[in-house]
Amino acid sequence: MSTSAVPTDAAAQPARPARRALLPQNPRARNLTLNALPVLGLVAVWWFVTAFVLVQPRLYPTPLAVAGELVRILSGDGPLGSTYVHAAATFSRLLVAWSGAFVIGTVLGVIGGRNRWFFDFCANPVWIAMAVPSVVWVYIFLVLFGIDNLVPITALLVLLTAPVFLGTAEGVRAVSPDMIEMCDSYKIGPIRRLFHFYLPSIAPYLVANARVSFALGIRIVIIAEVIGLPNGVGLLVGYWSDSLYMAPLVAWGIILMLVGVAVDHLVFVPLQRRIRQETVG
C-alpha cells in the first residue's frame, strides 16, 4: 500500500492549470460563478436591448430604471401610500391563510391517509380546489360574500389546504403498518398518536408541504389582491399594470421572487436537510 500513496491536494492541483485561468479553484466558488454568470449575462442582454434596440423606457425599462424603482420601493415610497404598509397587509394575509391551511390540511390529511373512504370522498373537491385557478376562487367568493378582507384569505385557505392535504395523506400512507400496529397494541390515544407518532413520522412530508404551499401562496395572494382588495402588493401591481408603467412592475416581480427564494433557502431547505439527516441518522 505504501507505494500507491494517496495524492495530497497540493499534488493534485497543478494537474489542470488550464481550468484555473477561467474559473475559481475552490468548488464552492466555482459553482457560485457558474450560477451567477448566466444571470449576469441575462442582465447584460436586457440592458443592451432596452438601451439600443427597443428604446421605450415606459414599456421596456432598463435595468437601471428598475434598480431605481427598487430603491424607491425599499424606501417606502409608492403611489398609494407606504409600500411597507401594503407589503405588511399582503404578508399578514399570506401568513394567516398559510398557517391555517397548514393546520387544517395536515389534520384532514392524517385522517385521509388512514381512512380510504374519507380520502376518496375528499379526492374530487380537493382536485377541483387545485385545478380551478385561484382567480376564479376569488371571483366566486367575491360574488358570494362581497368585498371583504375575508375573501382572499378564505380563497387562499381553500387553495393551500388542498396540496397540504394530499401531501400529508401520502406521508401517512407511507407510515409503516408495523409501527401503527405497535401504537394499537399499546392503546395510544388519538391526540398522543397525532402529535407523538404521526406528525414526527411524516416530518419530511410536513416540511415539503409547508414549502410547496408557501411558494404557491405567495403567488396567489397577489392575484387575489389585484382583483378584490383595497390594499396589498397586488393592488400596487395592478395599478402599475393599468397605467402601463413597467419598471415598478418588474421591480415588484424581482422583490417577490427574491422573498420566495430567500424563504425557501433560508428556512425550508435547511429544515428539510436537517430532518433528512435525522431520518437517516
Partner: protein, 249 residues
Amino acid sequence: MTASMRLKEYSAQLASLVLIILGWEIAAQTMNTNALPPASTVFATLGGLVADGDAFGPLFSTLLRTVLGFALGFLLGTAYGIFAATFKTFDELTKWLIQIAIFTPTLILIFLFLVAIGRTNFTVIILIALVVMPMIGTYIRDALKDFDPDLEGMAVSYKVPLHQRVTGMYLPFLIPPMLAAGRIGFTLSWKVAFLAEIFGFPNGLGWQVRQTYQIYNVAGLLAWLCLFIITLIAIEQLMRFVERRVVTW
C-alpha cells in the same frame, strides 16, 4: 384491486360531488339571492351554451393556446431535465435562472408580457411555456438523478449498444416521470392560459368569465367555470388512461 373496492372508491368520490351540488342547490333555493343561482340554473345555462354552440369558440381557442404552450414547455423542460441530469456544469449554469423562473410570480409575468410583447396568441403560448418548462425540467432532472448507477455500470460492462441502452433502459426509466410531470404541467398550462385571459387577453374561457363577472351575471360565470372544470376532468381522465396503457411494467 377487487371490484368491490373499486365500487367503494367510486361511490365515495361520487358522494362528495353529489353532496356539493345538493348543498349548493339547497343553499341557493333558501337564500334566494342573485349572488348564488341554483345549480340547476347554472347547468341549464351551461346546456344552453353548449346547445347554441357558443361554448366551443372560447373553449377551443383556450385549448389551442394551452396545448401549444404546453407542448413547447414540455419539450424544453424534458430537454433541460436530461441535460441538467447528465452535465453537472450545465446544471450549475442554469441553477439560478431556473430558480428565478420558478419563483417569479406568474401574474407579474403575465402583466409584463401582455404589455411588452402585445396581446397575441404567441405571447400566451410563450408565457405558458415559460411557466411550465422549469417545473417539468426540475421534475425530470430530479427523477433522472435517481437513475441507478449500478444499472449504468452493468450496461457498460456488458457492452450494450447505445440505441439499445436508450430504448431498453433510459426510456422506460424516463417515461413515468415524463407522464407524471406532463399531467401536472398540463393543469398548470391550462391555469396560466386562463389567468392570462382573465387579465387582459381578449378571448377564450377566461375572458368570458371576466365578462360575466363584470356584468354580474353569476349564472353565466359559474356556467363557464363548470365548462372549464369539466374539460379539465375529461383531459385528466384521458391522460390517466394513457398513463395506465403505457406504464405496464
